[in-house]
Subunit: 212 residues, 2 copies
DNA sequence: TCTATCTTGGAATGGTCGTTCCAAGATAGG
DNA sequence: CCTATCTTGGAACGACCATTCCAAGATAGA
């Protein structure tokens, strides 16, 4: 009997993601969302709730549809260190060129744009859901790095003494740094040099087949 | 003949720094600044100009008075890797405990809270001054890391094959990651383990004095 | 086709934003 | 003490904010 929605919420959410990703939650008004999606305020509020819920939905959408596939690819890629290098190459390219150049990572941006977790800030805290998504994403990132490093270990690509778990943490923090600096305009070449150095520090030296 | 200011602008700026540092520029209103400093709007605007100029002044103040001394200490400390380890220890402690716990780093936060540098965004861009401070701080951070690593090299603390400049970049990006993750609530112990692993990957292995 | 039910456009609301303005207060050279 | 000049408190302003509301439109089962 009832009427049906005149738009696709998933597609609308994709546009909202791009807004919040580029400009951040605090600097983006509901009016901007209305203008970008073409929806009316009524549909927006009926479908997603208020601005905060819309932001959380967009952040979840980013994690699931943008980060998720890339991290899954890294986690299941069995090549080891080359897979990690490819991941960072792809990351730096996306952060510095193309339609999302200089937008950073929506999750990294959210780290800085979300209120700090103060004590006695029970699950009622407005940003508690945001922090939960941040934690979920961090776990996924760490997990993907760990899997890739385990593959590297099993292929004897790792220098002796390299610990897989803590090295995964180092690479994860490095990714946050890349995301942050790319948003400020860091040259892609610099970022590439830096992550290459980090990966080289994990790699086992070539079994000296050639020397010059 | 004229009247003289009834307050100390430098001290007021310190309070403003704490506001913008904790809550970010977009989420902090001029009313909040008035409440925190006790100044009137008139004095505020007469002394610092509008909100954006006030934020830039606060960011510069943070870089000069908070980051500056710590980076200088790192750059002139001649101990090498122990100096870098001490720097990160101090950083993580400040980021996770005490009065500024979970505030992150104001500069790192600014990376995410500032509009991306779009093309044809001449020096008139509103956030151009912010990005300039970001770049200045990044250069100082890199420089301090480089100096410390050079000290480490001259003390033969570095593994052979470690490049000082690119390793400095890696450590700088790592610091951004620490700042970001600490704001989201990352445990200090985890961060410490991670940076220790990163430093270990640079360190030359102990001249096997003992084996077990 | 009729109608109950949902959606949609857009006006309206109360609050907050950054900024301006001015009368009253404070200062220090004359 | 006087007064030119700056500072201060706080009211006032228009723009914008997130949110609500309602009449008009669209839908699909009966």
């Amino acid at each position: 009997m009832p009427d049906v929605k005149h738009f696709d919420p998933d597609q609308a959410l994709d546009q909202v993601v791009e807004l919040f990703w580029r400009r951040g939650a605090a600097s983006t008004g509901v009016g901007d969302v209305v203008a970008a999606t073409g929806l009316s305020r009524s549909s927006l509020y009926a479908t997603f709730g208020g601005k905060q819920e819309l932001y959380v939905a967009a952040l979840r959408c980013y994690v699931e549809r943008r980060s998720g596939p890339v991290l899954d690819a890294l986690a299941t890629d069995g090549r080891g260190i080359p897979a990690i290098a490819a991941f960072f190459d792809q990351l730096i390219q996306a952060r510095c060129e193309g339609p999302y150049a200089r937008w950073g990572c929506m999750v990294s941006n959210a780290h800085a744009g979300t209120a700090p977790p103060v004590a006695a800030d029970g699950p009622g805290g407005e940003d508690a859901q945001v922090r939960q998504v941040l934690e979920q994403h961090h776990t996924a990132l760490r997990g993907a790095m760990t899997a890739a490093l385990q593959a590297a270990r099993s292929r004897s690509q790792l220098r002796s003494g390299v610990d897989v778990d803590t090295s995964a943490d180092v690479l994860a923090l490095l990714a946050y740094g890349v995301n942050l600096r790319s948003r400020a305009g860091a040259p892609a070449a610099d970022l590439r040099t830096t992550v290459t150095a980090a990966l080289d520090s994990l790699r086992a030296p070539d079994p000296l087949v050639k020397e010059s």
